[in-house]
Symmetry: C2
Subunit: 400 residues, 2 copies
């Protein structure tokens, strides 16, 4: 791996971040600039620079070298910043409505200067506070269809696709997903993290050989199938939204993988909300799942019919086969996400934030049970209602 970027690397300060924006001419000469570091200081710096005169702002994101993310030390090189900047630029070309604009990127400094989205909220946070983002599913369905179709072999010449697959080869970040989504949660290993009250359920899960076999197949698909350039981490923490607007950020996990992975990860993160909500609020989440799939398939179908480059695009039944494969894969990948966010290393606040222990444990059991069903029964399910009914089942709130 090319080590050069790390040697020329220097972390920005709030002062040098302002200097950089001036050098790049991103603000008027008369601008009165303020800078605040708003990142979590662990993986990346995120500088928010605003002009108090015009009220315009920008974001500078800088990757930290050898970030400690997991346990003691899981070193990450700065290459992820290059992947992220290139993915933002490519996705932005394919779907400008839902991707922040990139003004500048520097490989050596591992920085990306981009559109200020501070008028929006991270969707997970908004959801937990009770927001429902009525256009979210329409936007994400369209975003996924456009980015995934246009980077697939159906839309671009195979040689060009292979070049992109090499450019976005992302072994470091893929390894995180391979370990913490597709492996560790299914085995009794130290990285897992769950409440004692879940122990019995988890032991059952570890001993479920049918589940293991299906998880193995899903992992193989994730590792070997280069269908399209995925976002790779499309949960509600990677999406900024408000009532009318949606922006997908943080594609540092981007790589060529199976289309259903992005779709399934988004589904699962809607389901965490469905699991924690009641009544009409819960139905809104199921509606989001349904609309996501409807808009995705409708958009994908239109693109296929109008812009399909592959000779077999006109072959009867091929598009239906592809959409069915994406749906089955998405169910399975959603199941993996439901399980790993419940008992694996990296949790979601949707569940962990439930203060009442009995309710939290019940919600987590529901997530585990739904995850198991989605993984084991995904085959030949032709309708999006399968995933909704799986979470709706009353049996999910009781022991099994």
């Amino acid at each position: 791996m090319n080590q050069q970027p790390q040697s020329a690397y220097e972390p920005l300060s709030e002062g040098s971040a302002i200097l950089l924006t001036k050098k790049l001419g991103l603000f008027n000469e008369t601008a009165s600039l303020e800078c605040r570091e708003i990142g979590d200081g662990n993986l990346n710096y995120v500088f928010h620079i605003t002009d108090s005169n015009s009220r315009k702002g920008i974001i500078i994101k800088q990757a930290l070298p050898f970030a400690k993310v997991i346990g003691e030390a899981w070193p990450l090189t700065l290459k992820r910043a290059v992947i992220e900047a290139n993915a933002l630029k490519l996705f932005g070309k394919l779907c400008p409505e839902y991707v922040p604009e990139v003004y500048y990127a520097d490989e050596e400094l591992a920085i990306t200067v981009m559109e200020d989205l501070s008028h929006l909220t991270i969707t997970r946070t908004g959801f937990i506070e009770g927001e429902s983002y009525p256009l979210l599913s329409r936007h994400i369905g369209e975003y996924m269809a456009k980015t995934l179709f246009h980077t697939s072999d159906f839309a671009i010449e195979h040689g060009r696709k292979k070049e992109l697959a090499v450019q976005f080869s992302n072994p470091e970040l893929c390894k995180i997903t391979e370990s913490f989504v597709f492996t560790d949660p299914f085995f009794d290993v130290e990285s897992n993290d769950f409440e004692e009250e879940l122990k019995a359920e988890v032991v059952l899960l570890w001993n479920d050989s049918e589940l293991q076999l299906e998880a193995a197949k899903l992992k193989k698909s994730f590792i070997t199938e280069q269908e399209a350039l995925l976002h790779g981490d499309l949960h509600t923490g990677s999406i900024f939204a408000c009532e009318t607007e949606t922006k997908v950020i943080d594609p540092e996990f981007a790589f060529y993988g199976p289309i259903g992975f992005d779709v399934g990860q988004f589904f699962a993160n809607l389901l965490f909300q469905a699991i924690t909500r009641k009544g009409k609020d819960r139905e809104l989440m199921f509606k989001h799942v349904e609309v996501t799939w409807d808009v995705f398939t409708e958009t994908f179908r239109t693109l296929w019919e109008n812009e399909g480059m592959e000779a077999f695009c006109k072959t009867k039944g091929y598009l239906d086969y592809i959409l069915q494969k994406i749906l089955e894969d998405a169910f399975g990948f959603a199941g993996c996400e439901l399980i790993r966010r419940t008992i694996g290393l990296s949790h979601v606040k949707d569940l962990d934030g439930i203060e009442n222990t009995a309710e939290r444990i019940a919600a987590k059991k529901a997530a585990l049970q739904a995850g198991k069903i989605l993984i084991k029964q995904r085959k030949n399910k032709t309708d999006i209602s399968f995933i909704i009914n799986t979470v709706k089942k009353p049996a999910l709130t009781v022991n099994y």
Copy 2:
């Protein structure tokens, strides 16, 4: 793509080939060297250098730049020589018994200096002359199991596999297969090449929408599934053999693809012989198919059990699932090879060499029919006998 190798490139002559071997110290000082160019002069130079004293020899293979291979001009860069040399070296490490030794390789000159195999015969040629190579299937079964298992995610760390997948990204050569194996034969396009007597069969094939859909799926698998480092062109013209020895050459099509492609291509090329032979000679070919699969699965299973690195290798049913997938894929890929070698751009001498027109056309119809059945009926066939019975069927020699 890196153009550098082409600028420093210079074609060897018989004289400069001898000078190179001297420079490399591959022969004694007292050697009396003779050199003969034995390639087809189209894609590559192949220099055979022998010492008339010791009777030892070596081969120098040099790729020609922008070779005209297909129709008017299908330019190929010299990168294929690098892929080939690296693949020979890697396969040679994993399976030295069946891979020629590489003594030296030079990227800029696009040359590979390797073991002299002139005591062996190209298997296709030997077959056509009536040879049966009793150990061939045992050797190739073992060769495939070792090279494919050891380059798969089951045997190596995923990050290392991804590095290899980038190193062996081979869009130029893959494009040849994508076009001439998986696309053109299924459509009425100019590159196809067949006798007028086959026209009715071929038109039926072009209008067989079930066949097209299954061919589309197989093409997708070839393009997207990075299971292992394939030879990529494992027909009987890429194998040197005698009664006791087998060597696999010419891996310039090497890339990360679906394991069943190598297996299926080898099957199909045994079947061309089965189709043209009669009685016991024909049975020998079926036996070769059977032994190939038996030895492949037995070796793959042993490697999996003893050297499997993937966490799910111990999961009940996973190996069986993988072997079943390889078998189904191999049936389908064998079907594509049978069809494309019969009506596509690049034929095989096994069929084209049949002088009697009626016999030749009957054999080609049998190949087409078998190809269609293998592609359309491959799913859920658990036994190697399916491919043998498909070719054995008497219906194959008559019109359908």
